[in-house]
Amino acid sequence: MNAEVYKPTDRALPGPLRVALVEDQREVRESWARLVGSFPEFRCIATCASGEEALRTLPALRPEVILMDIFLPRMSGIECTARLKATLPDSKIVILTASDDDEMVFLALEAGADGYLLKRTEPESLRAALLDVWKGGAPMSSVIARLVVESFRQKGRGQADTVRLSAREEEILVLLSKGYTNKEIADRLEVSTETVRTHLKHIYEKLHVRSRAEAVARYMTARLPRAEG
C-alpha cells in the first residue's frame, strides 16, 4: 500500500482505536493481535476465527476498525464484509490479503471494505494505513483506481447507475491510476492533501452505496474466491 507517512499531529484521537481481527489461522491471528496492540494508537478488542463468529460477536462490540482476512473457511471474507457493513455501517473494514490480487480486492471494496493491506506490509505502513482508513481516505493503488473508474463508467448496472462520480472525483481517480501520489495530485490540482483525502472518502462511499443498491446476496454464493481458484 503506497501509504503516506502519518503524522500523529494531524488530528488528536480521543483514545486508542478499537480494532477487531477476523482470521482463521490461530498463529497469524495472535501475531496480528500482538502487532496491532503494540502501537499506542490501537487496541485489539476482539479476534474471530471465522466469518460466522465475527457476525455473532462484533455487532455488540462495535469496533472502529475490523481487519478481515479474505480467505476464510465457509463464509468468505468478502461476504462477511458485506454482511458486517450492513449491521455496522460506521466500522471501517480493512481487507488483509496474502497475495496482491486486484480483482479480489476490488470485489471486497465493492462489498463495502474501506481499504486493503498486504499481509507482508511493514508495521509502520500498517499503522499509517489503519489511521488513514479511520480518517476515511484510505490510499488507493493505481490499479484499483483504474478498476473503480472503469466500473463507474460501465453501463447497464440498473438503478445503481444513479450513483455517479463527480468530475473532480474522476479526475483524482484518473491521476491515481496514472501513478500520482495523493501529494502530487494535491499539488497538481492546487488543493490540500486533506481535500484529496476527502474526495477519496467520497469515492469509497459511492462505491459502497452503489454496491448496497445491488443485492447483498451477490457475494454470498457465486463469488466465493476459494471456489474460483
Binding site: D100, R120, V149, G179, Y180
Partner: protein
C-alpha cells in the same frame, strides 16, 4: 414350330433367311468371317428381343467353336469352351428378361478350319418357341471395335457372317461327342455395396477421413509443441522455486539461527531480526511473482497490465523515481499466453531497470496499449539518453530485450540520443507464434505480420511529448 420373325428384327443382317436348327442337336450351321487365317480371333454379335407380353419359360443355348470361344450375354461372360467336338449347353432362362439381349461370341481359330456353331431355343409361357441358330444373321465385328460386346445396335462397318459349312458337313463330319450342361445361370444382382453410388460415397468418406486424420495429426503436432512448451515452463518453474524460494528460505533460516545464537547486545539481535523480516518480505514478493507467472487464472491481458503497473510502481518507488502510468482504457480481458506475458514482463523489468540505472531521470513513463492482436508496452524516460551506435554490442541489457521479444515473436525498438532520453518500445502478439505456425500450415499462406522476430537499436532524436504528459 419356328417363330422367329419379328424377334430379331433389324438387328439381323438382311438377305439370308433363317434356316431351321438341326432337329437332333438343336444347332445352326458353322459360320465364320469371309476370310480365315491361322491364329485368328473372330467376334460374332447377335441381338435378340424378348417381347414383354410373354415371359420366357425356358431358354437354352448350345454352342461350340473350332477351336475355342468365349460367350458373353449382355456384356457379361457366361462361359468358355475349347473343344469343337463337344457342345456346351447354357440355361439362360433367368437371364432373358423382356427387352433386348445381346449375344457376343469371341471365337478363336488356332489353324486351318474355323467355325462357330450355336443354337438358341427359347420357349415362351404361351407355348411359342423361337429358335435362333448360327447363320448369316450374326454380325462379324471388326477387330478395332471397342465395347462391342455391350453395343445395343450393330455398328456401321459390320458385315454379316458367312456359313462355312452345314452341321454335320465336312470338315466337321464328326457328330458332337457330348453335350456339357452348365448349371442354370442367374442374373447378376448387384448388392448395394457393388452399386456405383455406394462406392462413390465410400470413397468420399475415405477421402474425408484421410483429410480429417491429416488435420488431427497436424493438431497433434501443435499439441505436442504446446506440451513441449509446458514442459519447458515446468522446468523453469521448478528452477525458479528452487533458486529463489529455496535459497531464500535457507537465508531466512541462517538469519534466524544467527539471531538465536547472538550473544551480543540486544541491538545486534534486533539487526538480525530486521534483516530476517526484510528477507522474508522479499521472499514473499518473489513467491507472488512466481505464482503470478504460472497461475492460469491470471492468463489475461488485464492481469498482465495490473501486475506490470504494480511492479513498476513499487520498483520505481523504491528507487526514488516517479512512475507515470498510461494505460489504455477498456483493455480487453483477452487471454494472454504464459510465455508471451512472462517474456514481456521480464523485458519491461529489464527496461525499467535500465532506466533507473542509467537514465538519471526523475520520472519514468510506462505506457500500455493493446491493438487488435498486438500488445505494446513503452518505457520512456527523459534522462541522459545515449547513442545506440556507440553502445558495445556484447554488453548491454538491450540485447536481452531483443532476445526476449524474438522468443515470443515480438519486436523491440530502442530509441535514444544523448541528452534526449530513451524510449523502449516492446511489442508482442497477443497469440503466441506456435499457434500462428499452425495457422500458416493450414492456410498455406503468407507470413503473418509480426512473426518475423526483430529487434533493433535506432538512434533518433526523441520527439517532445505533449502537455498532457510531462510537466516541465
Amino acid at each position: 414350330m419356328v417363330v422367329e420373325a419379328g424377334l430379331a428384327g433389324e438387328a439381323s443382317p438382311s438377305g439370308t433367311s433363317a434356316r431351321g436348327l438341326d432337329p437332333e442337336w438343336g444347332v445352326g450351321a458353322w459360320i465364320w468371317d469371309t476370310n480365315r487365317f491361322d491364329k485368328q480371333t473372330c467376334r460374332f454379335w447377335r441381338a435378340v428381343d424378348i417381347p414383354s407380353d410373354a415371359p420366357v419359360a425356358r431358354a437354352r443355348l448350345r454352342i461350340t467353336a473350332d477351336n475355342g470361344f468365349r460367350l458373353l450375354v449382355d456384356g457379361r461372360e457366361v462361359g468358355r469352351g475349347s473343344d469343337w467336338r463337344s457342345l456346351t449347353e447354357y440355361d439362360l432362362t433367368a437371364l432373358l428378361r423382356p427387352g433386348r439381349h445381346v449375344f457376343a461370341v469371341e471365337a478363336f481359330n488356332d489353324r486351318l478350319e474355323a467355325g462357330l456353331l450355336a443354337g438358341l431355343v427359347i420357349s415362351f409361357m404361351d407355348g411359342r418357341v423361337v429358335e435362333i441358330g448360327s447363320d448369316t444373321n450374326w454380325w462379324i465385328v471388326p477387330r478395332e471395335e471397342r465395347g462391342w460386346e455391350r453395343r445395343r445396335q450393330p455398328g456401321p462397318g459390320w458385315r454379316p457372317a458367312v456359313v462355312v459349312g452345314a452341321f454335320g458337313a465336312a470338315p466337321w463330319t464328326t457328330r458332337p461327342l457330348a453335350v456339357t450342361e452348365v448349371p442354370p445361370l442367374r442374373p447378376l444382382e448387384l448388392r448395394f455395396w457393388q452399386q456405383g453410388w455406394f462406392q462413390l460415397t465410400l470413397l468420399a468418406c475415405c477421402g474425408a477421413t484421410v483429410v480429417y486424420c491429416v488435420g488431427l495429426m497436424v493438431r497433434l503436432a501443435g499439441q505436442r509443441e504446446a506440451e513441449r512448451l509446458l514442459q519447458r515452463e515446468r522446468v523453469r518453474i521448478a528452477r525458479d522455486l528452487h533458486d529463489e524460494l529455496g535459497a531464500g528460505l535457507t537465508q531466512l533460516l541462517l538469519l534466524a539461527e544467527v539471531a538465536r545464537k547472538e550473544p551480543g547486545p540486544w541491538e545486534r539481535v534486533r539487526e538480525s531480526l530486521e534483516a530476517l523480516c526484510g528477507r522474508a518480505r522479499a521472499l514473499s514478493v518473489a513467491l507472488d511473482e512466481i505464482v503470478w507467472a504460472v497461475n492460469s487464472r491470471r492468463d489475461t491481458l488485464r492481469d498482465f497490465v495490473s501486475h506490470t503497473c504494480k511492479y513498476a510502481q513499487s520498483f520505481l518507488g523504491q528507487a526514488g523515481v516517479r512512475c507515470r502510468l498510461e494505460v489504455q482504457a477498456d483493455l480487453p480481458a483477452a487471454p494472454f499466453a504464459l510465455p508471451s506475458r512472462r517474456n514481456l514482463f521480464l523485458a519491461v523489468k529489464e527496461a525499467l531497470n535500465n532506466a533507473v540505472k542509467h537514465s538519471g531521470a526523475a520520472e519514468v513513463f510506462l505506457i500500455l496499449r493493446c491493438g487488435r492482436d498486438l500488445v505494446t508496452v513503452i518505457v520512456e524516460d527523459a534522462g541522459r539518453g545515449f547513442d545506440p551506435a556507440l553502445l558495445p554490442a556484447d554488453r548491454n541489457g538491450l540485447a536481452n530485450l531483443v532476445q526476449r521479444m524474438s522468443e515470443v515473436g515480438g519486436h523491440c525498438v530502442v530509441e535514444s540520443a544523448p541528452g534526449q532520453g530513451c524510449r523502449v518500445t516492446l511489442e508482442v502478439p497477443l497469440h503466441p507464434p506456435t499457434t500462428r505456425g499452425w495457422k500458416r500450415f493450414r492456410f498455406g499462406g503468407s507470413d503473418p505480420p509480426g512473426a518475423k522476430a526483430a529487434g533493433e537499436l535506432r538512434a533518433m532524436p526523441m520527439p517532445c511529448r505533449g502537455a498532457d504528459g510531462r510537466k516541465p
